[in-house]
């Protein structure tokens, strides 16, 4: 690897931090999901980087599994967003408290 592994890991940390910042800042669940995608991609960069470092395809297999989980999460998340929108017309994650104990 000509570019050192630490460069990829630092980039991954930056992307994860931006995703966390987005999850903290955003109040619309739709944009919150976008930030979660950023965090998942940060994980994928690290996984593919380690796969290259150890010359082992397992890391790429993990990254593909992460992509599938992301797709499932987006489907369910957007389904919830649409369901909440149709019943309540207001998109604010702080308002969705009907499941608090």
């Amino acid at each position: 690897m000509i570019v050192p592994m630490s460069a990829y890991l630092i980039l991954s940390i930056v992307l994860l931090g931006l995703g966390m910042l987005g999850v903290m800042r955003r109040r619309s669940p739709l944009l919150l999901l976008l930030s979660v995608e950023l965090m998942l991609n940060a994980g994928n960069i690290a996984l593919i980087g380690f796969s290259r470092m150890w010359d082992d395809p397992s890391g790429q297999v993990f990254a593909l599994v992460v992509m599938v989980v992301a797709a499932a999460e987006v489907v369910i998340g957007l389904g919830l967003v649409v369901a909440v929108f149709r019943s309540r017309m207001n998109l604010d994650v702080d308002e969705m408290s009907s499941m608090t104990g």
Partner: protein, 172 residues
């Protein structure tokens, strides 16, 4: 040299588009900015010799998932983000603490640790579809089956969610 330049371009694109995702007020712009991030990450995957994963990233992530997002944004219409006092504002300090903690700990851990073998081969076949397929079916067959189960559950869940939403409005 080419590898460094490509990495620099891809890293710059990733971070700047990600900043757009986090800070754009408009939901549509944030989603389109996510496409930029995902394509830059695909470029990084190509630099890391994972062309198959890069292709899947472009096909599944940057196309299908973002189209889902854009579809829902278009369906819900133009709406401003809720402003005003946040119920969780008193707890925001813990969020910042977590963010800086993760950033500082991660950076220190990366910079102070010595990892990996001494040298990685310059030519390798780990990114080829054949080796990924072999790894999937030889070593990770349980993950493979769990993946298909997750997709099935997600599809059924989405159908049930939509059905209930329609029933709430009086339809069938």
């Amino acid at each position: 040299m080419a590898e460094q330049i490509t990495f620099a371009i891809a890293a710059l694109g990733t971070v700047s588009f990600a900043i757009g995702v986090v800070f754009f007020k408009d939901a549509f712009r944030a989603a389109v900015s996510l496409i930029g991030t995902l394509l830059s990450v695909a470029l990084l995957f190509i630099v890391l010799m994972a062309p198959f994963v890069a292709a899947i990233q472009v096909i599944v992530y940057a196309s299908a998932i973002v189209v889902l997002f854009l579809f829902v944004i278009a369906y819900l219409g133009e709406r401003d983000e809720v402003s005003g006092p946040d119920r969780l504002d008193p707890l925001a300090v813990f969020g910042w603490l977590a963010l800086f903690g993760v950033g500082a700990f991660g950076t220190i851990a990366v910079l102070t640790s010595q990892f990996g073998p001494d040298s990685t081969p310059t030519t390798t076949q780990i990114g080829a579809p054949t080796s990924i397929g072999n790894a999937f079916l030889d070593q990770h067959i349980i993950a493979f089956e769990a993946t298909s189960l997750i997709l099935l559950v997600a599809a059924v869940g989405a159908v049930l969610l939509a059905k209930r939403a329609v029933q709430l409005e009086g339809g069938r």
